[in-house]
Amino acid sequence: MQSEMIKRAKELLASGEVARVVGWKAGEFDYDITPGVFTTAEELDSAFLYNDLCEANLSKYMIAQSRKEGKTLVFLKPCDTYSFSQLLKEHRILRENVYVIGVPCDGKVDVDTVKATGLTGICSMTSDGETVTVKTLYGDSTMSKADAMSERCINCKSKKHVVYDELLGEEGDVVADNHRFDMVEKIEAMTPDERFEFWRNELSRCIRCNACRNVCPACSCEKCVFDNEQSGAFNKGASDSFEENMFHIIRAFHVAGRCTDCGECSRVCPQNIPLHLLNRKFIKDINELYGEYQAGENADERAPLNTFTTEDVEPSIVYERGGKQ
């Protein structure tokens, strides 16, 4: 797949159809791949990479890249296309300046998941699609790819590209029977005290680095309310538990109905806070209360918080349903 992608990128660069290519760049240890911009065939040959370790969602970069002179070629995995499509819907990307090539993905290997198995000193990591071979300072080992994938890929929601100009490889399908709400249900089934304890334990680790916000394709405000001194909610370092809760509730709420569940927030969190569980709670509630909705799937549909029906449930439903007391 990688050589096919490089070939197409070179053709499009050579013909002048695109001025630059956004893809993944090789790092030091196989797993530390950086999103990168390529403008020449030589750069593509020396550093362009696409393999089972290319986790980053490149769609958000297109907000800036699509405003540059000439067209930009971007490679998008199926779940990235949902984010891209959602950004188009919000008029954040200039579509005419982007050439999208959809590339297949059957789940990505996650270095943190591999490290969590107890492996340290990982100098190299390769995947052949079935088995992941890990070379460390203290010996080599192998594991099945399924064991090396993060939760978001295990519970993949779709292998279908919702937007592209060109597709490489086979088109996949929406994965209907994923288990992505299992953990949300587990938390819902706890008592309020247990839930409070659970989230306090998670959110108290937050260092307010803003990685979750800055990586999020749905967080594309020019000025975030937390960076705005006039907002009354300016917050650069959480001073207490209230500010931790506030940041995370507002962050998740602001992307409610727009979050495609790409899982980048949880991937980048340096403190391993399962932020996707906040987003998924909103997605689950929206599905249950206002009908199934997948952000990014359909460009014409109105987002659930931008619309209503006269028969909507009352907020008091929250007192009546769900969970132990």
Partner: protein
């Protein structure tokens, strides 16, 4: 008159009321001399839909023990559809607070028209009673804001 000092917990309640229905409803409760606790502090907003989640959270930060949002009955919004958006937004927010283990009874939405002075008073009495039973807001408090 002697003021009796009690240690009884008196909750601080913030009530966001829409200008067109609920605020007028509160007014009517007043002119009809209907009693509701003085612990309810009313903040007038142009429409219930003006209230975003940050308003609710900041009320808790500043010391509220309960926050209630009142607007026109669905279908009667002065701006035609504002309160329909309120309804979805607050349903999701309250559900999220519950998900975080924060007492859901501390938040409420109630539709009160300009003619429902009695409903306004009854709603406030009931809400104050509910929050009094819950006690002080501990799970969404900002200790820095607690007066010494």
């Amino acid at each position: 008159m002697q003021v009796k000092e009690t240690n009884e917990f008196k909750p601080k309640i913030v009530a966001f009321c829409c200008n067109w229905c609920s605020y007028a409803g509160a007014d009517l409760a007043g002119t009809n001399r209907l009693q509701y606790p003085a612990d309810v502090k009313i903040i007038r907003v142009p429409c219930s839909c003006r209230v975003n989640p940050m308003f609710i959270l900041r009320a808790f930060q500043r010391g509220a023990d309960g926050v209630i949002l009142c607007g026109c009955h669905p279908g009667d919004c002065h701006y035609t559809t504002g309160n329909y958006y309120t309804r979805r937004r607050m349903t999701l927010l309250f559900s999220m607070l519950d998900y975080l283990g924060i007492e859901k009874e501390r938040t409420r939405v109630e539709w009160v028209s300009a003619a429902e002075g009695a409903k306004f008073a009854a709603t406030m009495n009931d809400f104050v009673a509910t929050v009094t039973k819950l006690g002080e807001n501990k799970r969404l408090e900002d200790l820095r804001c607690k007066a010494k």
